[in-house]
């Protein structure tokens, strides 16, 4: 294993410990807590009102469109990060390369903006 890989073993250990912190309180409280079930406690909590109809409601498609645009620009960030890290070593050429990359994507963003995709209707 390389020098970097050892720190990933530590990350794995941290994940285990973190999972324990996340699960232990639930287990301990399952031991300690009282159980007094009643039909009232089984109801949906809707501010005193009785729940009507299906809890599944169709939400705005706009949420979904934001998620789509997000995926596209998240990928852009992925390309920007290694570019930023190697910016000093690569120099002017990489700068121009990234400008071309960004211009294409920003063009898309401007178009989407003007078409009203980013609008919360």
């Amino acid at each position: 294993m390389g020098p970097y890989a050892t720190s990933y073993v530590l990350i794995g250990a941290l994940m285990l410990f973190g999972a324990m912190v996340g699960v232990a309180p639930l287990v301990i409280s399952a031991w300690l807590r009282p159980r007094k079930p009643s039909p009232l406690k089984n109801q949906t909590f809707e501010c005193g009102l009785e729940s009507k109809g299906d809890s599944w409601v169709q939400f705005k498609v706009q949420y979904y469109i934001y998620a789509l645009v997000f995926v596209i620009f998240d990928l852009e960030t992925i390309f920007l990060l290694p570019w930023a890290a190697t910016f000093h070593q690569l120099g002017l050429f990489a700068f121009l390369e990234m400008i071309v990359f960004l211009v294409v994507l920003v063009g898309g963003l401007v178009w989407a903006w003007r078409k009203g995709v980013l609008e919360w209707k």
Partner: protein, 164 residues
């Protein structure tokens, strides 16, 4: 140690992938697919491809699967769970799988892959990836921007249809 970890991640990945396609509940499928991506990230770490491992989690688990979850919530789940699955989908996916296996074995046969899991001397750190990506693989990088632009246009058209 490395070998046993490799088997651990591989088995985890394959079983999660299997559960993804066998689960009736779409949300469970998404969660198992996320776990499969995690195991794959573990495999990338074993190959010293640290940048790829982080990006794997960030893009697939953190962005694309969230999108999937959104789509699933747009659908009415109880109706989806009851839906009958026809034979056509299964046949088509088996066909695609066989084609992919053939292609992969063809590539593996002709490209003479290195026998060791990772070529020594190269650490898949961010700087290494950046240096290669922005010099040798400049063209694919620029083409990627066009690909993303095409995806963006798709989004715009999708949202335009919704208005009518």
């Amino acid at each position: 140690m490395e070998n046993s970890l490799f088997y651990f991640f591989s088995v985890a990945m394959l079983s999660c992938a299997l559960l993804t396609i066998t689960c009736k509940n779409p949300v469970s499928s998404v969660i198992f697919l996320v776990l499969a991506f995690f195991s794959m990230a573990g495999l990338f770490v074993l190959l010293n491809a640290f940048f790829l491992a982080a990006v794997q989690v960030l893009v697939y688990a953190g962005a694309i699967m969230v999108l999937f979850l959104f789509v699933i919530m747009l659908l009415n789940l109880p109706a989806e769970e009851k839906r009958h699955r026809g034979w056509f989908g299964g046949a088509a996916s088996i066909f695609v799988m066989v084609a992919l296996m053939l292609e992969l074995s063809f590539v593996a046969h002709h490209e003479k892959l290195a026998s060791s899991p990772a070529s020594p001397g190269i650490d898949g750190t961010t700087e290494d990836v950046g240096m290669v990506l922005f010099s040798r693989y400049m063209l694919p990088f620029e083409v990627a921007s066009l690909l993303l632009l095409a995806a963006m246009i798709g989004v715009i058209i999708l949202s335009r249809k919704e208005k009518k």
